[in-house]
Amino acid sequence: MAATDIDALYQEIILDHYKNPQHAGLREPYEAEVHHVNPTCGDEVTLRVHLEDGKVSDVSYDAVGCSISQASASVLTELVIGKPVDEAMAIHDTFLQLMQGKGQVEPDEDVLEDGIAFAGVARFPARVKCALLSWMAWKDATAQSLEATNG
């Protein structure tokens, strides 16, 4: 890849989130906590979800990893905190589609906001899993939270 191509990967938005991660840290209360790792590279995230009145009330996390995985966790929390669970899940699906689209999917800025910065990541197959780590953790924790609250 030439330098211009990695600029597509490392968008300013991503570097900003990497340097100033939003909603970082682990907080109470929460219904579910999960720990996900990327076995090939060793990136790790511990993530908590708190649901209240059908909404994603809080997502808190402690993550170790590269700029893409860190920024992705930060963008995730910005996008889903305060949203009804159904809407948050839809955002998750849209992000997943973008990341699995091999660079062919046009990102929807209305839904993904800062998340559109990850469109370039989809062209780097080795980095897609970095971007998805915290999203997978969030989906897992949310499903567990739903079970805990409905059970």
């Binding site: 030439a2 990695i6 990967l9 990136d43 990893g65 700029s67 780097f124």
Partner: protein, 424 residues
């Protein structure tokens, strides 16, 4: 560059580079390839590629069972590769060289057959197996599986802050309960060259067998299996300019004879009846099924190639490049090398951290400049944990690496710092 003629560099470096066609290729943006990932896998010289193609084009047949001319040629080529490997590592007998699919399989072969053995080699309840904190996962997990299955105890040597084996408690750690001591010769992460013979001496005092992971040693050092003190020694073909899919287990004849078979199937038998079978002698006892024939033939060509250059010369080259790289890396602000800082005491893999940039991001930006390195835990998570790091970036050189390529790495690291807006 001022470094163009470092003492110890291979005198024919430019000629050697021409042997490796991949080094001619350019990457996206028309950048020349700077390949610094040889500890991961080495590149292949034309003679290895040609030997494999020739075998497939002209001599391909199954071995040891085909009665036709091609079968004879293929068998001869495969067994000649065994002779070449035996000579390359100083094995007293060609029969002590067992072909496996890689070093991991070789190590698993030993760990499994020690679990199934009866007699002095058997690892049982209350026995101890000693490894080290700097092992590749492939020399940790098989021993965890063995000790878990047999109720034995897994113990390990710790590491000093400089990244060397801490041998201060060797007499307590390796004791009369110890059945196996398994250690790496050269660390794939820290680069440390371990005193294998010294550890082996203590292990043999208490009657333990010594298993050496030589995956990073055989590519870089002149290896004499007998002088090493090992009872078993494993390495892989693709790190010694050979192909993937072929590994080697060397073992002392008396031990290989005493161990039960590993996998059952064709080729490893003497005779088979419905009730029971008897087994072939070594090495075939451990080579069930059709082996990786063309890969073995390629490995034979690879070790011939290295022997022709001379492993003393390859080692001197590695040391010169490693010393030059350690000097260059020391000039990069915020960069910390993990492992010994003296090139004479280490191999050519240098793992490092760069303050403020995650290893994946370092590797990605280096790749955009044509510099190929590895980032991650390098299958040595415990060694990383020992030094309080989650992952690292690793450059690794080989006989084709030039000082100019090290300069390119250092320059690309400077660029990485500026890309991530780090001030010095």
């Amino acid at each position: 560059m001022a470094a163009a003629r470092l003492p110890g560099l291979l005198p024919e470096l430019e000629v050697i580079r021409k042997d490796f066609p991949i080094l001619e290729r350019t990457l996206a943006g028309d950048l020349p390839l700077v390949y610094l990932d040889s500890a991961n896998t080495s590149q292949k010289p034309q003679v290895v590629i040609d030997t494999m193609v020739d075998h497939l084009e002209r001599h391909n047949a199954n071995i040891a069972r085909a009665m036709h001319q091609l079968g004879a040629e293929s068998t001869e080529a495969f067994e000649a590769a065994r002779d070449k490997v035996a000579a390359f590592i100083g094995a007293p007998s060609r029969d002590e060289v067992v072909f496996t699919k890689n070093a991991s399989e070789a190590l698993n072969l030993v760990a499994n057959t020690l679990a199934w053995a009866r007699g002095p080699l058997e690892v049982g309840e209350g026995d101890e197996v000693v490894i080290t904190e700097m092992e590749h996962h492939s020399n940790i997990v098989p021993w965890q599986l063995l000790t878990e299955r047999k109720g034995a105890r897994l113990r390990w040597f710790g590491l000093t802050d400089e990244g060397r084996l801490d041998l201060s408690n060797i007499d307590e750690l390796v004791n009369e309960r110890t059945k196996v001591v398994a250690l790496t010769w050269v660390s794939n992460m820290l680069g440390t060259v371990n005193p294998v013979a010294e550890v082996a001496r203590r292990a043999h005092e208490v009657g333990a067998v010594v298993v050496v992971d030589a995956s990073q040693a055989v590519p870089q050092l002149p290896v004499d299996v007998v002088a090493s003190g090992a009872d078993f020694l494993a390495f892989t073909g693709h790190k010694v300019v050979g192909p993937t899919g072929i590994g080697v287990l060397w073992g002392r004849r008396e031990h290989l004879d005493a161990l039960p078979p590993f996998l059952g199937g064709g080729e490893m038998i003497e005779t088979v009846a419905m009730e029971r079978s008897t087994y072939a002698g070594i090495p075939h006892k451990f080579e069930a099924g059709t082996p990786p024939i063309v890969e073995a033939v390629g490995l034979g060509a690879a070790v011939d190639y290295l022997a022709h250059i001379g492993m003393d010369a390859v080692h001197a080259h590695e040391q010169a490049i490693t010393a030059y790289a350690l000097e260059g890396l020391a000039t990069v602000p915020g960069l910390t090398v993990l492992g010994p800082l003296d090139a004479t005491e280490r191999g050519g893999a240098i793992a490092f951290e760069l303050d403020g940039v995650h290893p994946h991001d370092v590797a990605q930006v280096l790749d955009s400049r044509g510099v190929a390195v590895r980032a991650g835990h390098h299958c040595a998570k415990p060694a990383h944990a020992r030094f309080g790091v989650q992952s690292s970036t690793r450059m690794s050189s080989y006989l084709y690496t030039t000082p100019d390529e090290i300069d390119a790495l250092v320059e690309a690291l400077e660029y990485t710092r500026s890309y991530f807006k780090l001030d010095s």
